[in-house]
């Protein structure tokens, strides 16, 4: 059983469960409020995934560390490299 088949099986099981609840395919006669809450579920999962992604991106932007020492070191190394290449004839 490949990973693709496993995922497809899982997704189709979830979709089948959703369809049975939303459209009352098994004549369960569930209360209307359950059906109303279950019907937008795929869209709700998509929206919450989007919110989670947005929140994670925002959080990582806010907590990204500036590394001042590394930045200074890198600039120094760039200067060194430029001087070295100029000595060897490359025009910068």
């Amino acid at each position: 059983m490949t990973k693709l088949l496993e995922w497809l099986l899982g997704v189709s099981l979830v979709l089948a469960a959703w369809a049975v609840v939303s459209f009352d395919l098994l004549e369960q006669r569930l209360p209307q409020s359950y059906r109303e809450a279950a019907w937008p579920m795929p869209l709700y999962l998509l929206v919450s995934f989007g919110c989670y992604s947005l929140g994670t991106v925002g959080y990582r932007v806010a907590t990204f560390n500036d590394c001042d020492e590394a930045s200074a070191e890198l600039l120094g190394q760039i200067q060194e490299a430029k001087q070295d290449l100029r000595k060897k004839g490359l025009k910068i």
Partner: protein
């Protein structure tokens, strides 16, 4: 720690996504179980909009991505070389 604008933008994104998630969750999951004369219903649009608004947002997102791609490709077109 990232400073200044970075922190402000990041934190506002986090707060915005939390607010959006909470509002949408209450709208989709909790409201159907409240009686129709509950005061909470006055804060939320009719339920059809809970499907229409994300649909419109998705269309706008795709439009923006398409427009951005088109602009970039337009700027990078090179005239054909004449041999």
């Amino acid at each position: 720690m990232a400073t200044g604008v970075d922190q402000a933008v990041g934190m506002s994104l986090v707060v915005f996504s939390l607010l959006l998630f909470t509002y949408y969750s209450v709208w989709v999951i909790i409201l159907p179980f409240m009686d129709s004369d509950h005061i909470l219903h006055t804060y939320f649009l009719p339920r059809e909009y809970s499907v229409i608004l994300p649909g419109i947002a998705a269309v706008i997102l795709l439009l923006c991505i398409g427009a951005f791609t088109a602009v970039i490709m337009w700027k990078n077109r090179k005239p054909k070389k004449v041999d």
